[in-house]
Subunit: 417 residues, 2 copies
């Protein structure tokens, strides 16, 4: 029997009417001949309520107890969804993480999958059940405690089940109808993509397009799970974007989308000694302090100046804006400890990152030139540039962000299918 | 290490402030040197919310899914209570039914205990944990599904743990401060009892004194678990009633309390054949229909009349008022099937049951005479009388119920300690 995984997020199961709406979508797939594994989130608002109670009860809470409390939200939805399906005549059974079992590490609050044995659920399918409704976002540690995977973990659960059960597809139902060339709130010309490659989705997700969690896309790419993102509230044929292997995308444009992030800060260490090992002397302490460094640019200076006698350089990097204080402390400590020498640490929190993403870049030249020309035509000054195989990112003044996104969307003609 | 079981009902853990209040009571026992097993109910209102969702989702709901949904309420409280205790510096760990495991039958919604292995919780006590917070009202079936014990099952869970772990005492924290000689809302002279025997409590519980669930008292009596009922909201020395073996009660009064129930109906089968086997021909079908027959009185008639040629009798019995329709149908069916013959079935739903209860009755005569005299003095007509070793019950017109309770409370001088 072919098998589908269908995942419904919090807004898709926010109340009993929406659970019924979701159940109808499951029933439709069963009627098409699929066995279905449904992954559910907590009814929207419930997880926040539970988290609020935990945080009010204990500031430095025990993550084992946090997980035990918070995971209960998904259990409720799983039971209600199974009941609704039964009411519609679809044989369904709910599954909590420990019943499957979804074996995870013991890293409470951010556990990772170890394995998902198929035996228990397969046995129920063999008995005639058509649907297994699984509580998302949770698992079981080797110590027999409930774990959670962290926010967004329900998407990852869905992909992991799709991989474990060899699903034909993993449908992620949410409140948007797919992946867009850019955020429609920034560019009214934004267009929904019918298909997008895993790699592109990964760049878009990590760059701030909040449709799918990065980890779930990584997992889907590794196990070649075809992911479809679609809206629970749209019954049109055109609903959804398929995230798939690039081989499935017949003719791809050079650039698929324009991503952006407002939460960036640019930091520059002025007059760092230019010697082997200096990069690790800087980024080692930052990594230890838990700072996520994104872009890194080193400008080699030609002249010697400041307190240094040898060759010097400026080192510029970007970090999430809420990690600036931590990064400043790490650099100050490294300076005091004599690990690194620099004259000054400049911080600019008034920047934004804009990126163009597309697997077509691999085979096509001139993308960067076109991007820089489009920005220059709007007088947008580029502060930092970073590139990967399938994306080009620039750091610019935050006030130009919307302008830059629109200019790039136009330049690459993303409004055209 | 001596061990206590402490159980907190829904109103005692209704919100975070009340959970903290309950946790302080647990902490005080830990400081007195006890290991403690805490049994918690769902925060009040939560179970009703979950049951409401289930019933709205599916009218003829699957009890397995009902249990999976409804048990989540207790899980939340267990985690929050463990967190609160940790915050106070008390090493605590939460336990869901399947983690202990609390092994039960597969009778979903009304499961019964099979066993509660001590190993897992004992291992945690040995590691230095002082408190195990267990989600009440739930268990695990042999099929690996979550079961519930039915309403009031948290009391039963507490007693079962006290028995399994050899607890010194099982404290049931609720919103009343103990067991009274009668309901204070009916008789202002009602007095709280310091101690009461299991058998008396059992009669009072089954007669409508809603302090403790019958099943939990039965279990306590069988395993000789000393039960204390007390208020979460009373810090006085005088708080609580101990339910214990009668040997612990030095000098007991003849009558301990006056119980009553409004939810009674009196049914009379007129002119039943008076022959061997007729009782089972009546009460067999009633039992099969799930009717809980309480009092039974048979009046032998001296004359033959009606459609019967042999000796006839009237058979009177009482049933809960909400089972009258079911009882009527069962009797009609039995008549149509020729199982039993009678002329008429009379139903009186306007009655109440009043009972006096006391283990002292065993050794003392004249209790019934005193009871009937007290009722006669108030012109209360007695419709049915039933007696057991430690109680005498009468069925009377409902309008006299409060009067009868007060008259009996006075007659047996229950206001005096």
């Amino acid at each position: 029997m072919p098998l589908l995984v269908m995942k419904f997020g919090g807004t898709s199961v926010a109340d009993l009417a929406r659970i019924e709406n979701a159940a109808k979508k499951v029933q439709a797939e069963v009627e098409r001949g699929y066995d279905v594994i449904v992954i559910v989130s907590a009814m929207s608002g419930k997880t926040n309520e539970l988290v609020g109670w935990v945080e009010q009860t204990s500031k430095l809470y025990d993550a084992r107890e946090y997980d035990a409390v918070v995971a209960s939200g998904e259990n409720v939805t799983a039971g209600l969804m199974a009941l609704r399906l039964q009411e519609m005549g679809v044989p369904a059974r709910s599954w909590q993480g420990w019943q499957v079992p979804i074996n995870t590490t013991s890293a409470h609050g951010s556990a990772r999958f170890i394995d998902i044995p198929r035996d228990n659920i397969d046995a129920k399918f063999a008995e005639g059940f058509k649907v297994a409704v699984v509580a998302g976002f949770q698992g079981l540690s080797a110590e027999g405690r409930i774990t959670t995977l962290g926010r967004g973990g329900s998407d990852t659960t869905a992909v992991a089940f799709a991989a474990a059960f060899g699903a034909e597809r993993c449908d992620i139902y949410t409140d948007v109808d797919g992946v867009y060339t850019t955020d429609p709130r920034v560019s009214p010309k934004a267009r929904k993509l019918d298909k997008i490659a895993f790699e592109e989705m990964l760049e878009l997700a990590s760059l701030g397009a909040k449709v799918l969690q990065t980890r779930s896309v990584e997992l889907a790419m590794r196990y070649k799970v075809r992911l479809r993102v679609l809206s629970s509230f749209d019954d049109s044929e055109n609903n959804g974007t398929l995230v798939c292997d690039e081989e499935e995308i017949m003719e791809s444009k050079v650039v698929s989308g324009v991503a952006f992030s407002r939460d960036e800060a640019k930091m520059t260490l002025v007059s760092v000694e230019d010697r082997p090992g200096v990069a690790s002397a800087i980024f080692g302490p930052l990594a230890e302090a838990g700072v996520n460094v994104d872009m890194i640019v080193q400008n080699i200076s030609e002249k010697n100046y400041g307190t240094h006698t040898g060759a010097v350089t400026d080192m510029t990097f970007s970090v999430p804006v809420n990690q600036v204080a931590r990064a400043q402390k790490a650099m100050k400590d490294a300076l005091d400890a004599g690990i690194v020498k620099y004259d000054e640490l400049l911080t600019d929190t008034d920047v934004a990152k804009v990126s163009v993403v597309g697997i077509g870049m691999r085979s096509q030249v001139g993308v960067a030139a076109k991007m820089f020309a489009a920005l220059a035509a709007e007088n947008v000054n580029i502060k930092v540039i970073a590139t990967s195989e399938i994306k080009i990112s620039v750091l610019i003044d935050r006030k130009y962000m919307e302008l830059a996104v629109q200019a790039l969307h136009d330049a690459f003609e993303l409004e055209k299918a």
